[in-house]
């Protein structure tokens, strides 16, 4: 909550954000219905902090990112540097927050030169003369690892990694206090993605800004971020320092996520002699429990530990056994389960299997 870490200062404050999409339903007889995408999302990002948001596809990560950018209507409050978005104040707001999106192929206007695109933020905010703007663009190109000659090129002449550099450069032009990076490396090749991650590292060292880094790859988030939030079905299920969440996960979903990450130490073994039932059992941890009652814990339908207590949605509670107060999880087990050095990944899977 707000009382903690106040000395550090908050750049982003998200409190009790709910968001709905109207399902227009194209069908003739389709009913219009509201579908909740974000439910009661609250967290803060401190100045100069890299904050990671992970979760499976469709859980609402991008929706949250867009809500913060003021591109979507939502309920609740979001403050960036103490300021709420309003259409009339869009300019001032955008000075504080900028974004880098997933697909560098489509994020640049194909009919504008790189230089022109990068000047766009300055132009929009009437910063400097033409010459000053051009100089600033050249400096920024340099900073993101491209030379000034790229200013005259068109996006189609650049590789994916180069384009993502341009996007990052453009986002930095206004020296924002917060950058939202939505899957900024997911579309890139491994080797190029690494370059971009490095770039984020470098500019982090040089400039003063916080970042909301959205990704579905826990490894990447852990690598880059100071703090991590795990989202499931529009709810934050676990939040804490990168170390705590990655190494001492509390929420079953976080554990599942970690267990599913393919790594270099284990291999899937199967001699083909088993039955389909064996496979089913092995996959059980991923299978869907048929019931998904209203108002229950969002993970109820997949949770091996679920019991009747879980029919009431738990709120984020601090995990007691950690040294850091910051570590919180939305699970009944959060309070009772010792999170320190719990299980290895293998045993998580077992836990999942044994209950199904």
């Amino acid at each position: 909550m707000s009382e903690m870490n106040s000395e550090k200062g908050e750049i982003l404050e998200v409190s009790h954000v709910n968001n709905y999409y109207e399902d227009t339903g194209l069908g003739i007889f389709a009913k219009r219905q509201k579908r909740q995408v974000l439910s009661d999302v609250s967290f803060t990002i401190h100045t100069d902090e890299f904050f990671g948001l992970v979760g499976e596809s469709g859980c609402g990560k991008s929706t949250l990112g867009n809500a913060i950018l003021g591109q979507l209507p939502f309920e609740g409050t979001i403050r960036v540097g103490g300021m709420e978005y309003s259409k009339s104040d869009r300019r001032k707001f955008t000075e504080k927050v900028q974004a880098v999106f997933q697909d560098p192929m489509s994020a640049l206007n194909p009919r504008m030169t790189i230089g022109s695109t990068m000047r766009e933020p300055l132009r929009a905010h009437n910063i400097g003369t033409r010459e000053e703007q051009i100089r600033a663009v050249n400096d920024m190109l340099e900073k993101v690892g491209l030379d000034a000659s790229y200013a005259d090129r068109y996006p189609r002449e650049l590789s994916g990694g180069q384009r993502q550099r341009v996007c990052i450069g453009a986002a930095l032009m206004l020296q924002p206090e917060l950058i939202i990076a939505d899957e900024a490396v997911s579309a890139l090749d491994v080797s190029v993605g690494a370059q971009i991650l490095n770039l984020f590292h470098e500019i982090d060292a040089g400039a003063d800004f916080a970042m909301l880094f959205i990704s579905h790859n826990l490894n990447v988030v852990y690598y880059l971020c100071d703090r991590i939030a795990v989202m499931y079905r529009g709810t934050i299920v676990e939040i804490g320092s990168a170390e705590d969440v990655y190494h001492h996960p509390v929420h079953p979903y976080t554990k599942l996520l970690l267990a599913a990450i393919p790594d270099f130490t284990s291999r899937i073994e199967d001699d083909g002699t088993g039955t389909l039932a064996d496979i089913a059992k092995a996959n059980a941890q991923f299978e869907v429990r048929n019931e998904d009652p209203e108002g229950a814990c969002c993970f109820y339908h997949r949770c091996p530990y679920a019991n009747s207590e879980c029919l009431k949605r738990p709120s984020l509670t601090a995990v007691p056994t950690t040294d850091s107060e910051e570590h919180r999880a939305a699970c009944r087990l959060a309070a009772e389960q010792p999170s320190a050095q719990v299980d290895e990944k293998g045993s998580v899977a077992e836990a999942f299997q044994s209950t199904c």
């Binding site: 950018l69 591109q71 869009r90 300019r91 955008t94 000075e95 927050v97 900028q98 974004a99 999106f101 697909d103 489509s106 994020a107 640049l108 206007n109 194909p110 009919r111 504008m112 766009e120 933020p121 929009a124 905010h125 996007c167 453009a170 986002a171 032009m173 206004l174």
Partner: protein
């Protein structure tokens, strides 16, 4: 793409020839377009009259190339005006959405379901006389389809990643529309505009055919065709010359449009 290029070239060549003839007619025609000679009426094509003469003894070739001028002038100005209006309407409807979109689209729908001939007739009778009333009539008939194109394009780009990106940069709505969305619709629009040119030629000739077009003695191809109808048996060249000119021109524009479409949308 290669095939697009070939079409584009063929189209440009044909269109070039037609336009050249039209321009030529500004300075020179073999005979006056209203120069009549009853003695040599309905003369078959010959060296004197390469497309023959019509029932009043006028040189069909001269009339056909001057007709090119009128027909093209009508087509070009129609498409020009209508594009300008449609751009405004389409961008507005697409970008603003909501009731603005609803109102614009309903009117467009109504115009679309309204017989074109009636629109033409109204315009021609209501507006002050002049060759370009037909332009306004055609314009109204063409606005729905063009507006749709612009609107669809706008909708397509309204939420495009790069537009969203620039919105985050702090660009104003107007700038987003004019600098980021509109230029990207241009290729789509351009090929439609060129196809629209040929539709305008078709429509102009249909209107002239119904007596609603260019005022005589100025020839337009539609008018020439109409006048040639009664002598088609004895002087088929009078109908074939403007008819084929229309076909060639439309093929030319369609080729150019197709070529452009393939080049930019492939």
């Amino acid at each position: 793409m290669k095939s697009g290029k070939i079409e584009f070239r063929i189209g440009c060549t044909l269109a070039g020839i037609v336009i050249l003839l039209a321009v030529l007619s500004l300075f020179w025609t073999p005979y006056g377009i209203n120069e009549m000679d009853p003695a040599s009426r309905m003369a078959a094509p010959s060296l004197q009259h390469i497309f023959g003469t019509d029932n009043m003894g006028r040189d069909v070739f001269s009339r056909a190339i001057v007709g090119a001028r009128f027909t093209l002038a009508v087509a070009v100005s129609t498409v020009l005006f209508c594009t300008l209006i449609s751009i405004v309407l389409g961008l507005l409807a697409g970008y603003a959405g909501g009731w603005v979109d609803e109102v614009i689209m309903r009117i467009i729908d109504a115009i679309n379901s309204f017989p074109g001939i009636l629109i033409a007739l109204i315009m021609v009778t209501v507006l002050p006389p002049g060759n370009y009333t037909i332009v306004i009539a055609l314009c109204i008939m063409f606005i729905p389809s063009f507006t749709r194109i612009v609107r669809t394009g706008t909708l397509q780009y309204k939420n495009a990643d790069f537009v969203r990106n620039n919105r985050v940069f702090g660009d104003s709505d107007l700038r987003l529309l004019l600098v980021h969305i509109f230029p990207n619709i241009i290729p789509l629009l351009l090929s439609s505009v060129i196809v629209g040119l040929s539709n305008a030629i078709l429509a102009e000739s249909s209107m002239s055919y119904l007596g609603l077009g260019i005022q005589p003695p100025a020839p337009s191809w539609g008018r020439m065709l109409y006048e040639a109808q009664s002598i088609i048996f004895n002087a088929p060249w009078c109908a074939l010359a403007p008819g084929l000119m229309i076909v060639v021109t439309i093929v030319a524009f369609n080729c150019v449009g197709e070529g452009l479409r393939k080049r930019y949308l492939a």
